[in-house]
């Protein structure tokens, strides 16, 4: 038996244009969602890493005195470990500023101690500063958590912007689909009238448009999600290809949550299209007797 012809004819040109617009919106929305999620992940990972990290700078001391200070620090409550940086390690740290030929021996350098403390112990910086000062050291304690807070605030704002973009893009997609449904309804008013006068219920007529736009939303959403996946993969590849300087960028990786976002994109697009179509058609039909 031949397959029934759809009661709504396919409108290639109009639907191709709408498909393109919805796919582009889904691409941008998926990308914004991935950015929001990756910013959140990066903020968590990065701040978890630096919180509890401190650097102690000792001026006017030789290596032996610095080693005594290290032991003193390590014996302080809340400190997990303390490591006195060697000359080579300091050279490596300063390599971006002074090149890879090392620092001249005549250049006076402070002694540096990298401290790892329990991030849940409050005021670790002032505590170490007080202990070292009481022991007679000329020291400065740099607590990474101080500027981790700034980074966290910046990342929170970035995340908020990304989520706002997701919401705006999703709303735009719904508005575009509602507009397109209305245009399709007007263009097919003749068919709607005949169906209506043949006794078709409003929900039957609406279901024709719903089905059409559900499929369109699903397909356009899938294309948008695939493009977003490609763009994210390209960004990760580019970041890794440029040699690990992506440390200050949001964490660029794809995990299962990103895949959930990408899988949900076409489903949400399809549902939004379907709901927009239903509301538009039902409202338009109510203006008819």
């Amino acid at each position: 038996m031949a397959r029934e012809t759809p009661l709504l004819p396919v409108e290639d040109a109009r639907e191709a244009a709408l498909f393109f617009v919805v796919a582009a919106l889904c691409f941008l929305a998926a990308l914004a969602a991935l950015s929001a999620k990756s910013t959140y992940g990066a903020a968590r990972a990065w701040t978890a890493e630096v919180e509890g990290e401190l650097t102690v700078t000792l001026q006017d001391v030789d290596r032996r005195a610095a080693e005594d200070a290290r032991k003193l620090i390590e014996s302080t409550d809340g400190v997990a470990s303390a490591h006195l940086l060697s000359k080579d390690e300091i050279d490596e740290l300063l390599e971006p500023n002074f090149g890879n030929r090392g620092l001249p021996d005549s250049l006076p350098l402070p002694q540096l101690i990298a401290v790892t403390a329990d991030p849940h112990v409050p005021d670790m910086g002032p505590t170490l500063q007080r202990v070292l000062t009481q022991a007679g050291y000329n020291s400065a304690v740099d607590e990474h958590a101080d500027w981790a807070g700034d980074v966290r605030r910046v990342l929170a704002i970035t995340r908020l912007i990304a989520l706002t973009a997701v919401a705006l893009l999703a709303s735009t997609a719904v508005a575009v689909i509602a507009f397109a449904t209305h245009a399709a309804l007007l263009a097919r008013r003749d068919i709607v009238d005949v169906l209506h006068l043949s006794g078709a219920r409003d929900r039957f007529i609406a279901s024709l448009f719903e089905r059409r736009f559900w499929v369109l939303g699903l397909r356009a959403g899938a294309v948008g999600a695939l493009l977003a996946l490609g763009a994210a993969a390209a960004a990760i590849f580019a970041a890794k290809a440029h040699g690990g300087h992506a440390g200050l960028l949001p964490e660029l990786s794809l995990d299962y949550l990103d895949l959930v976002v990408l899988v949900l994109t076409p489903v949400i697009a399809g549902l939004a299209a379907r709901i927009a179509a239903r509301i538009t058609v039902i409202r338009a039909l109510k203006s008819m007797m």
């Binding site: 038996m1 029934e4 012809t5 003749d190 005949v194 169906l195 006794g199 219920r201 409003d202 007797m289």
Partner: protein, 255 residues
């Protein structure tokens, strides 16, 4: 086709169509229809005539529930339509077959699919109605054009598809706007026989709007005439031999 019986009609409602003081105007125009009273019994056969622009199509639109009157009440099968819920209106429209003057066939569907449309709309399966639809199309002379799309059909063929679509559900009321305007006299007579058969064997209330006085003369049936938005009854017009004995009664048009 299923046996033609009156079982689908409500036995307690004798009146199929009733208009009480109905007026209609579009936007700010003058009344297109004015103070119309009309009552048609179930199983009646009625002609509606009038000059172009007299309001025939507007009156038919009120009857097939495409428009609401500006004033007054339209009742079908004993129920005032103005107070019905949307789903109830849809259910009522399913009992009314309409042949539109401009046919209103769906151009992307075949002749077969156009005729089957009212059955598809109510959720019936193709396998259930295929035989009936093919038989009906054969009856109107389109048995070999089942799969032709409307743009490839002549005006007369399109009209026959439109008529087949209107009668395929064996409606309780059949409303036809110039149903034989595009067919030759032989096919016109054949289509009239179809309407009469539905009327006599099944009790379908038939209302035909036409300019074709030849068509009117074929059937002994009351004729109503619209003139400047007013409905009057041509009391003795109808059937062979009625011509020449025509007179007009301006009183309320009651069948």
């Amino acid at each position: 086709m299923e046996p033609m019986t009156l079982s689908r009609l409500d036995p307690f409602d004798d009146i199929a169509v009733r208009l009480d003081n109905v007026s209609l105007r579009y936007d700010t125009s003058d009344d297109v229809l004015s103070g119309i009273d009309l009552s048609l019994k179930q199983g009646s056969f009625t002609f509606l005539t009038g000059a172009s622009g007299a309001g025939k199509s507007s009156l038919l639109k009120l009857l097939y529930l495409a428009l609401k009157p500006s004033l007054g009440e339209v009742s079908l099968f004993g129920r005032p339509t103005g107070r019905l819920a949307r789903d109830q209106l849809s259910a009522m429209r399913r009992r009314v077959g309409v042949v539109f003057q401009e046919f209103r066939l769906l151009e992307h569907l075949s002749a077969y699919e156009n005729v089957a449309l009212p059955l598809r709309v109510v959720g019936r399966k193709d396998a259930d109605y295929r035989g009936d639809v093919e038989e009906l199309l054969a009856w109107v002379g389109l048995g070999k054009r089942l799969h032709a799309k409307p743009p490839t059909l002549s005006g007369g063929e399109q009209q026959r598809v439109a008529i087949a679509r209107a009668v395929v559900t064996q409606p309780d009321i059949l409303i036809a706007d110039e149903p034989t305007g595009n067919v030759d006299p032989e096919m016109g007579s054949r289509l009239m026989r179809l309407f009469l058969e539905l009327n006599k064997r099944r009790g379908t209330t038939v209302i035909i709007a036409t300019h074709d006085l030849g068509l009117v003369r074929q059937v002994e049936a009351p004729v109503y005439r619209l003139n400047n938005g007013l409905l009057v009854r041509d009391v003795e017009f109808g059937g062979d031999g009625a011509a020449g004995r025509r007179r007009t009664d301006p009183a309320k048009a009651e069948d």
